[in-house]
């Protein structure tokens, strides 16, 4: 008997394997198998295989989780079967069908020795500096961060993001590349290809641990909050085990391990972290931190707009450089 988990490949799979799956297997004796892939790829695949789901539990980003939910690909969660969810922070309760597993921010990571002397990124506006021409990278799979930042800087409501398109286009010359996955982001940084990135905090910490001198800046406007979530695949015949798996994920010790290994912020309030980890930007241990340090794009709006943003972004920002 095995439980099949759909997740990102690489270090995210390893993370889940070493923490949540380990705990789950200890408790149930059931082995965990993975199917891996990019966020969108797996969404598409899940749609195609809705009659014969390939996985029992699916990890995905909060707003994409909404797409699963809206499409009926997730089962509504019976929270009573997840005792550990009692301590779940508000920001991690995404929808009736998917809840957070860990949190992080997308923010500015940079190599101090490869940017102009003294540049510190106190504000997102610093990204627009002409001195950064051809130095920046951002994800090609999710433009929501920079779009929401631009909206905020222009003082327009995110719903009217189009009004910030001038601002966005002004940033175009500073982009060098758009990374396609987490490893790609790390490579671009470690090779100095793009010394400034709008990047996942967890990845930046990982690079630090490998000895790369990368600084993580939290601009005054806040960093863009992200929550990676879990849901139970509709139509699974392993529902009980799936609940046990999700419960294991929210175990305070497991959450602490996740913070320790990959610097993902716990999503339960009762996780106990060492001070030096708790102090890291992008790790939230108090409700205030969840509020003050983050720039939050409403998940459902983000879900709704993702396709539109991606198309605009790839046609206007990525292509034709």
């Amino acid at each position: 008997e095995t439980l099949t988990v759909s997740s990102w490949g690489g270090s995210f799979r390893d993370l889940i394997d070493q923490t949540i799956a380990k705990k789950f297997t200890e408790e149930t004796g059931v082995e965990v198998e993975f199917i891996t892939g990019g966020t969108i790829d797996r969404l598409n695949q899940a749609k195609l295989n809705r009659d014969m789901p390939e996985s029992d539990v699916t990890f995905t980003t909060s707003h994409i989780g909404w797409l699963y939910t809206n499409d009926g690909l997730f089962e509504e969660l019976d929270m009573s079967k997840i005792p550990n969810a009692e301590n779940l922070v508000e920001q991690a309760k995404i929808s009736p069908a998917h809840i957070g597993a860990w949190a992080y921010v997308y923010t500015i990571g940079y190599l101090p020795d490869s940017v102009p002397e003294g540049m510190t990124f106190d504000s997102w506006n610093d990204l627009w500096s002409p001195e950064l021409e051809g130095k920046i990278a951002a994800p090609d799979f999710d433009p929501s961060h920079i779009i929401s930042v631009a909206a905020k800087l222009e003082g327009v409501d995110i719903e009217n993001w189009q009004d910030a398109s001038e601002k966005l286009l002004a940033l175009k010359p500073n982009f060098k590349a758009f990374y396609t996955n987490d490893a790609n982001s790390q490579q671009l940084l470690s090779t100095g290809e793009t010394p400034v990135q709008i990047m996942l905090s967890m990845n930046a910490y990982h690079m630090q641990s490998e000895g790369l001198d990368v600084q993580i800046a939290i601009p005054s406007e806040g960093a863009v909050l992200g929550v990676d979530t879990m849901g139970i695949t509709a139509g699974t015949d392993q529902e009980e085990l799936a609940y046990k798996f999700i419960n294991a994920a929210l175990d305070p010790e497991v959450q602490a391990q996740i913070a320790e290994i990959k610097k993902g912020s716990p999503v339960v309030s009762n996780a106990v972290l060492p001070d030096e980890i708790a102090a890291l930007p992008g790790i939230f241990t108090t409700p205030e931190q969840w509020e003050s340090e983050t720039l939050i794009i409403p998940h459902d709006l983000r879900a709704e707009k993702t396709a539109e943003w991606r198309q605009w972004f790839s046609e206007n920002m990525i292509s034709n450089n």
Partner: protein
């Protein structure tokens, strides 16, 4: 007596395979005229939308990139491959010939991933070339190879080189040495012998090698994907992206189809051109 023993049995497996090939080709043609239904693998009704979509800049740019990549790769591969093939066939020492053969052949059996990955390490901003040049003080800032046509072409040249060398060497080795000797005895120096005898007689080999280089480059996926990093989109990377990120098989199919027709057209034009060129050598 059975005049053609085994005809049936021997052709049966390949007939089945031919059916599979034909069927998958028909599938592609068929899909390319069908509508994309988001979230479904089953295509919608018949439409020409896919082909109108191809007029968008992204796709046009990918076509242009692919052509340029093929062109530059073919040119540089020839320029590098010809001397190598020549040395492989004509070097005096047997050891040197064997060494050249092994060195130029090994990459042929390494696959696209290993070789592309290696080039990333060579060409990156902190890669071997830039690190070395910077440490030696030749440059202050790294030269950009990654995410540029230049970088992709360098890796593609390396990728197509072995097959081109093998084909050129085969052509060169079949040129009768006595022809070159005859030219020498008639007073031609080495450069002239090469220009008036060796080169013209190897044109069929050059043609074959170039069209193969073209087909390989056209087909290459990992190299533009990994080194181009999304900045150098080609037909192959787009087909994959369209097919697997949005599961838009009809659009991917129409891209493939147009790409294929395009390959055939280019090879046809190229072959006619070469036939003209072959007549050219006689006047030198």
């Amino acid at each position: 007596m059975s005049k053609r023993p085994f005809l049936g049995w021997f052709s049966l497996p390949s007939v089945l395979i031919a059916f599979a090939i034909a069927a998958s080709f028909i599938a592609i043609v068929q899909y390319s005229f069908r509508a994309y239904v988001p979230g479904s693998l089953d295509p919608g009704g018949f439409t020409l939308d896919n082909f109108t979509t191809l007029w968008k800049t992204v796709y046009g740019q990918a076509f242009l990139n692919t052509v340029l990549l093929c062109l530059w790769t073919a040119i540089f591969t020839l320029l590098i491959g010809y001397p190598l093939a020549y040395a492989m066939v004509r070097a005096q020492s047997v050891k040197l010939r064997s060494a050249i053969l092994l060195i130029s052949l090994t990459p042929l059996f390494l696959g696209e991933i290993v070789r592309t990955y290696s080039w990333i390490i060579v060409l990156g901003n902190r890669g071997f070339v830039n690190a070395t040049l910077m440490q030696m003080g030749f440059i202050d800032a790294p030269i950009n190879f990654m995410f540029t046509m230049t970088g992709v072409v360098i890796a593609l040249v390396h990728f197509t080189l072995p097959i081109v060398v093998v084909m050129l060497a085969a052509a060169l080795s079949h040129i009768d040495m006595n022809l070159e000797r005859a030219a020498t005895s008639l007073g031609a120096g080495r450069v002239r012998v090469f220009a008036s005898i060796t080169l013209p007689l190897s044109i069929p080999g050059i043609a074959a090698a170039t069209s193969t280089a073209f087909a390989w480059t056209f087909s290459a996926f990992a190299t533009p994907q990994m080194i181009g990093g999304g900045k150098v989109q080609t037909i192959s990377t787009l087909v994959y992206q369209v097919g697997f990120a949005s599961f838009n098989f009809p659009l991917a199919a129409s891209l493939s189809l147009v790409g294929l027709l395009f390959t055939i057209a280019v090879l046809a034009i190229f072959n006619t051109g070469i036939r003209r060129l072959e007549k050219f050598g006689a006047h030198s």
